[in-house]
């Protein structure tokens, strides 16, 4: 069976999931199965099929499992959003159309060679940094739950960090491809620790500084962990020196510890994380109410969950019991309705995507492609870790999205670009294996 037919067949579980999920929500609502309501499902499957055709035509050798895995997550996300609010699902479906257009555009424009991106690395890096800082620009910046992650222009609000994570990975992959040799070879030992020459250590420290800026100005520990973690993963893979990663992580931990103790709003978030049920923090504005409700919702889920549409999200008089159920806390809704078993299933799908991503990196033959696939996969895995870890109180809760499931246009568009880049790398790598030049 060819890759593309495998991909087509692998879409069947996603199709079944979306059908079963919508049916469950309808049954719970005592609703009749109307044509209008079923169109979401049908439309969505149509979109998946279109995306499959695009890949079939442009990247015949690309990894066949990535897209069906993503489609499975997207289906689940759509069903949960539909269950929370029909409007969310409708808007999300519209964003999927936009996401697929960008997906197709990315693939078509880069299908000859993804390495053309290296030429624009400084432009991309600058754009990435500017995007990150946009939420602090007065007038368009938005503060949500104490963090500056979004911008609003008219009716459209956008989380630029989603896009800049890709930009920064592209830049780092390209930068490290050039300097990895120097970083490895030019080391001298200080107290037994191998260190690269100072002039090459510089950029490393700059990125660390950028992460700290993120922490303090964007006020989001999760995003900075995601960026810096992705960076360390790239440095480690580029140099094969665990010591760099460990030193880097130590610097990050020290910085976080310092700012958590000195900067008020960072401290508040850490306090809410440590003592979610303290009376004072629970009632405070931007306090621990959100994380406490997240944990309560998960406790309500149990092993098998309450079932689609059965969890209590709204208060009887209107108003939210579980805040940000469609964005930050969507994982808590999953645990509540599908239980530990369902949540593990979702995590497994993410893990499979990560596994495919790293496999693509392993197969890639040139350093840039390898580093690009590694960086994108690492950032993707870290994003899942940061938000799920936040929702489960493993780390302080932050406002990044759960990729392909959370409501949010920028997240969908950015993650479709990420998917397109991975497929581009994969197609090239597998083609070279099949047709050695």
């Amino acid at each position: 069976m060819t890759e593309r037919n495998r991909e087509l067949f692998a879409l069947i579980p996603a199709a079944l999931l979306v059908t079963a999920g919508f049916a469950a929500v309808f049954v719970q609502r005592d609703d009749v199965l109307t044509n209008a309501s079923l169109t979401y499902g049908g439309l969505f499957l149509g979109l998946c099929f279109v995306a499959h055709l695009i890949v079939r035509m442009t990247l015949p050798h690309a990894d066949p499992y990535l897209f069906p895995l993503v489609a499975t997550l997207a289906c689940l996300g759509l069903v949960i959003l539909y269950r929370l609010d029909e409007d969310f699902a409708r808007e999300q479906a519209q964003w999927f159309v936009v996401g697929l257009i960008v997906f197709a555009a990315t693939i078509i424009s880069l299908r000859k060679d993804v390495r053309v991106l290296e030429r624009y690395r400084y432009v991309i890096a600058t754009a990435g940094i500017l995007l990150l800082l946009l939420p602090r620009v007065p007038g368009i910046g938005q503060q949500v739950n104490g963090a500056y992650l979004g911008i609003g222009i008219g009716p459209i609000s956008f989380q630029p960090a989603e896009l800049s994570k890709i930009a920064i990975v592209i830049f780092l992959a390209s930068y490290l491809r050039d300097t990895r040799e120097v970083l490895v070879q030019g080391t001298h030992k200080i107290f037994g620790i191998p260190l690269p020459p100072l002039k090459h250590l510089g950029p490393l420290l700059v990125v660390w500084g950028a992460a700290m800026v993120l922490l303090v100005f964007i006020r989001d520990l999760g995003s900075s962990l995601m960026f810096f973690g992705g960076f360390l993963a790239l440095v480690y893979v580029a140099t094969n020196r665990a010591s760099y990663a460990i030193i880097g992580f130590g610097l990050f931990a020290a910085g976080t510890w310092f700012f958590a103790r000195t900067v008020g709003h960072v401290q508040d978030r850490v306090d809410a994380w440590l003592h979610p049920f303290s009376d004072q923090l629970y009632d405070a504005q931007g306090g621990s109410y959100q994380i406490a409700q997240s944990i309560f919702a998960q406790g309500d889920g149990g092993l098998l969950g309450r079932g689609f549409g059965e969890a209590i999200i709204q208060l009887p008089g209107g108003g939210q019991l579980l805040p940000a159920a469609h964005t930050d806390l969507i994982y808590a809704v999953i645990v509540n309705e599908l239980g530990l078993v369902g949540a593990c299933g979702v995590l497994l799908v993410y893990l499979l995507i990560v596994e495919r991503g790293f496999r693509i990196a392993t197969l890639a033959t040139d350093s840039f492609s390898k580093l690009l696939a590694t960086g994108l996969t690492a950032v993707f895995a870290l994003q899942v870790f940061v938000i799920v870890g936040g929702v489960t109180k493993l780390i302080p809760l932050t406002g990044v999205t759960l990729p392909f499931i959370s409501y949010g246009g920028s997240s969908i568009v950015a993650n479709f670009i990420l998917l397109a880049l991975l497929l581009l790398v994969s197609d090239r790598a597998r083609r070279e294996v099949l047709e050695p030049r």
């Binding site: 893979v237 309500d300 990196a361 870890g389």
Partner: protein, 477 residues
Amino acid sequence: MNQPIARLFAIVLLLFAALVAFTSRWSVFDAQALRDNPKNRRALIEELRVKRGTIRAADGTLLARSEAAGAGTYRRRYTEAASLLPQVIGFSDIDLGRAGIERSRNDELSGNAGALDDIVDQLKGGVEKGDDVRLSIDLDAQRAALAGLNGRKGSVVAIEPATGRVRAMVSVPGYDPQSLLTSARRKALDTDPNAPLLNRATQAGYPPGSTFKVVTATAAIDSGRFEPSSVVNGDSPKVISGVPMANSGNKSFGDIDLTTALTFSVNTVWAQVAEKLGKGTMAEYMRKFGFNADPPMDYPDGQMLPSGEYRNGALLPPTSRFVDVGRMGIGQDKLRVTPLQMAMVASAVANGGELMKPTLTQSIVDPDGRVADRVEPQRDRRVMSERTASQLTEMMTNVVREGTGTAAALQGIDVAGKTGTAEIVRDQDINQPWFIGFAPASSPKIAVAVTIERSQGGQGGTEAAPIAKQVMESLLK
């Protein structure tokens, strides 16, 4: 570069394992604690969507029901008859929480009792309904007790000795349970110095006075150390634990047997008996009667007070060195007992020495009208031999026939009983009158305990015994 990529994947695996671990922690391991966290309002919100079962009296009179409150939620309604036993019913409210039967029978009332039913209900869709609770309380007996107390603070408990069913449980002052659900009225009730929300039958610890001599007599006879005919000197005063003790009116009785000593409630005799028995034997029989523990009744633990000796608000074992066993033997010292506990004492003697677990619930009826649970009588333990019980019945019958308890006598029916008058403020003559007893003495159908709080000059025989008579009359009809 492939080896570090593989290691990177291993790190991701570890991170995801941590995610699974934390998800398990909340959703499975800590789930119960999270459900019980007072900040978690899920259970209360869910309950609003359940049509709670009704609560009815023994004769079927409706006491509490749920009515639709819009948007698929329900609220509680208490009928006028519920004012006869507000503390027994308690309340169920999203802000107040729950108390009384509404709390102790919450699983049944909210339909949580049968997991299988839940699944069937879910498949059928429709409204979730709780089971109905039928109490064993007789409303006529409640009315008789309330009429007898006539607004005086106090409590009456009546138990069916053979089954443990509570037929009357009155605590005065009471309140209208429906009005409790409005916040202004609730505040007023909460801060009322007369404590209407307190169930005096189960929560108030009063000095039992001479009614406690029934416990001492049980220990004396059942331990084989004394017979009803054993003779003890009843002169007054006598030195007990180094301090002189007097009989009522400082009357000296000379050498008398225990039957006479109970009939005329001779303090010095029973104090000497208790001293001879010692703390160990007294403790053993108190434990058998249920002292020093929450009564085994279907009522919230937080609303039941264990009876026994108290020092600085803490329960003492009867063997403690702080206990004056002679004075304890006549119901003085530091004894604090609930009316329910004294009704259990009378009930155990009445039931041939066997104590039944008191229950407020007669049956549970499911929404389709089938009896889901009949609440069968349950034996608590044997307190004394049948022989001791019949000897005590004889002695207690004498109390009502010719002693201090004649006011409890019923036309044509032998009543067994014991009066008590605990002095609360001696120089102002403020007393705690008591009567415990049962009838008919030959084959007991009902056991009662009656007490009145801070009665001005009231005696057990004159104040409490007539109320017991009215309640027993009502239940023996």
